[in-house]
Amino acid sequence: MGRAILTLLWKDLRVELRTKEILTTMMVLALLILVILNVAMGQNVVTVKLAASGVLWVVFTFAATLGLSRVFLVEKERGQLSGILLAPMDRSAIFLGKMIGSTILVLLVEAVALPVFVVLFNFPLGGRVGPLLLPLFLGTVGFIAVETLFSAISAQTRLREILLPLLAFPVAMPALVGAVGATAKVLDGLPLQSAAPELQLLVAFDILFVAIGLVVFEYVVEEE
């Protein structure tokens, strides 16, 4: 299974490196949302401090949703998904390969969007960068696990891109609440330990949804 996951990951990243279809789209949307929110909120220190965590997660989740709506759809439309399904392997490897690939792409978007946020909103992070990485990573993994599963489901339907956010956001709400809460505490300058309840929620959510994805993915991708 590890070999299949690495093979799928290699292929996804190689294709993305050449086409830059998903990464460019996500990156542009992330920067646009940051600029719009910056114009709307201005440089009021109190407002920015209150909303910073929400701003970041709106940027990350919207960009991720836009990118992930294409993850299965393109391969489904071009018939390539059938080629992968013909391989004699555990089909949950496809879920993990896609999930890890998407997580890498979204983390890259976050790595660019975060410094832009700092500059635009005049919100220096100082020593909070390190502690911030944990809620960002755990929140991203949970959200991407949900989105990967629902991206595969929505690719089988006529509504496709429209269906993904409608399905994924309500289901991912516990992860988002946890991620926004933990990020807010870190940005407020509180120690990471104070965000333990949110981080525990995120870890539980991540394990649960990766497990659900592994179990149900075979039935999701096989045509009825």
């Binding site: 050449r18 992968i84 004699p88 392997m89």
Partner: protein, 239 residues
Amino acid sequence: MVQEDRRAVEARGVKKAFGRTWALRGVDLEVRPGEYLALLGPNGSGKTTLLRILATLIRPTEGNIRIFGRDPRREGEECRRLLGFVGHDSFLYGSLSVSENLHFYARLFGLPDIPARTRQVLEALGLERRAHDLVRTLSRGLQQRVAIARALLHDPILLLLDEPFTGLDAQASRSLGELLASLRQEGRAIIMATHNLNEGLEACDRAVILLDGRVARVMEGPEIRGERLREAFLATLES
């Protein structure tokens, strides 16, 4: 080549519904190892659906399938190891080269010595000089050859081909016909779906005509050669 002492394909009462539309209404079919079967029928007769069911890509609504005695529902991975499928789509990635595509699929199949196997398949299909070309830069005919190379990578003993001659020029069609004949000589079972009676049928052992999701006629021997096949096909459509 591994030859197994079982039927290559056994389908019993296979039905498939998409919503309220029945694509297959009860198909019984047997294919022997090493047999070359042509699946004929007009558009919408159920050829593609039957091939995709045999390829384990879709589940039948009713009925049973066996691939070399194995049940795809319980032994899907084993079945997929035994079969190669060439569909309407090439299953190839346009932004990867021919060689990269074949390496990708070879790795998914867990093949040993991938560079040697890839080289061997590329040579067999006359694609050595195109190995480093991006697939999107190839003509339809060349892409079809790469798709066949992909399907042959793991040396399957059952080949499922859905309209493989579509879009090929005369020379490419002739090459593909020769290739299919040689694959049959090697002992592989082949099921080829087509609505074109002019190509690829010379080496066939048997022809099955599908109409409205049912087997309307089975022909073999002299019946499937030349004009007699065309006449039988038209008579079946009109009946």
